[in-house]
């Protein structure tokens, strides 16, 4: 258990993060709807990019955290890493779902179809299915180290889909646009500087949100653990 000073310090850190995230989101909204110019060929609909790409980035980052924490859990057998992996997987699935929703909304007026079985779209759908299965595995099986171990293996294997998603537009013919931020010519060479700046602010806002959500989600798992521990104590003492 934390002492009152530590609790106060944690709360202060949490408040700073809330303010930082709020400010970054405000700056991102101003950038998206006021500062960034309207793209010439796609028009207003192109502004979906400022949400679509950060959602994709956040989900990939969240699954990367699952990958690292799962390896650390299998290595150290420390419940703490399992908690971080579980929390991150849930956030990753939420944002991967938003990618799979905003993508078709953007595609409909541009491609004339909500969905095409293209390599990028299909591999992203597979990623979503893998991590939904990960969460289902955690929800269905009994709590314990075996469940955590199976989940960790799935968390590691699932991450292998992410490089495939990234390179799919380069390896195969695809409807999906080629990378515009990181290109062979350098970072942001294929974009207008004001669009790149807006995307950068939006990426920061989503990343800060990730840390805020992680804090809350990890706290939830720790509260559950504490309740279980007290219930077990009560059971054994009676």
């Amino acid at each position: 258990m934390m002492n009152p000073d530590e609790v106060e310090e944690k709360q202060e850190e949490g408040n700073i993060l809330v303010w930082l995230t709020g400010s970054a989101w405000l700056a991102a909204i101003i950038g998206i709807f006021i500062y960034a110019p309207t793209e010439r060929t796609e028009g207003l609909i192109q502004r979906i990019m400022y949400f679509h790409i950060p959602c994709a980035w956040l989900s990939f980052f969240a699954f990367f955290v699952v990958f690292i924490c799962s390896i650390l859990f299998l290595w150290k057998k420390d419940r703490e890493w399992d908690i971080y992996a579980h929390a991150s997987a849930e956030i990753g699935v939420i944002f991967c779902s938003l990618v799979l929703i905003t993508g078709p909304i953007w595609a409909r007026p541009i491609w004339g179809a909500w969905w095409v079985w293209d390599s990028r779209l299909t591999s992203t759908l597979i990623l979503w299915i893998i991590y939904v299965a990960y969460l289902m595995l955690r929800a269905q099986s009994d709590a314990g180290s075996m469940r955590a171990r199976y989940a960790a293996v799935l968390g590691i294997v699932g991450f292998l889909d992410i490089p495939l998603i990234h390179f799919s537009v380069l390896w195969w013919r695809s409807f999906h646009p080629q990378p515009k931020v990181i290109t062979s010519e350098g970072i942001g060479k294929g974009m207008d500087p004001s669009m790149l700046a807006t995307l950068g602010v939006s990426l920061c806002a989503f990343t800060l949100l990730y840390f805020l959500l992680m804090g809350e989600r990890v706290r939830q798992e720790k509260l559950k653990d504490e309740i279980d521990r007290l219930k077990r104590e009560k059971l054994y003492s009676s």
């Binding site: 938003l98 939830q220 104590e233 009560k234």
Partner: protein, 47 residues
Amino acid sequence: MDNMGFLFAANAFVWGGIIYYVYTLKQRNRALEKDLDLLKETLSKEG
């Protein structure tokens, strides 16, 4: 305005999704905190 409806729909999903998730997260944490306090109180009463 071109494709304003699509832009609005995408925004609504992103904002709606995030707000709903934060709300449920806060609700679940509050319920768990209440359970924990109740449990601690019961245990301290039982001695």
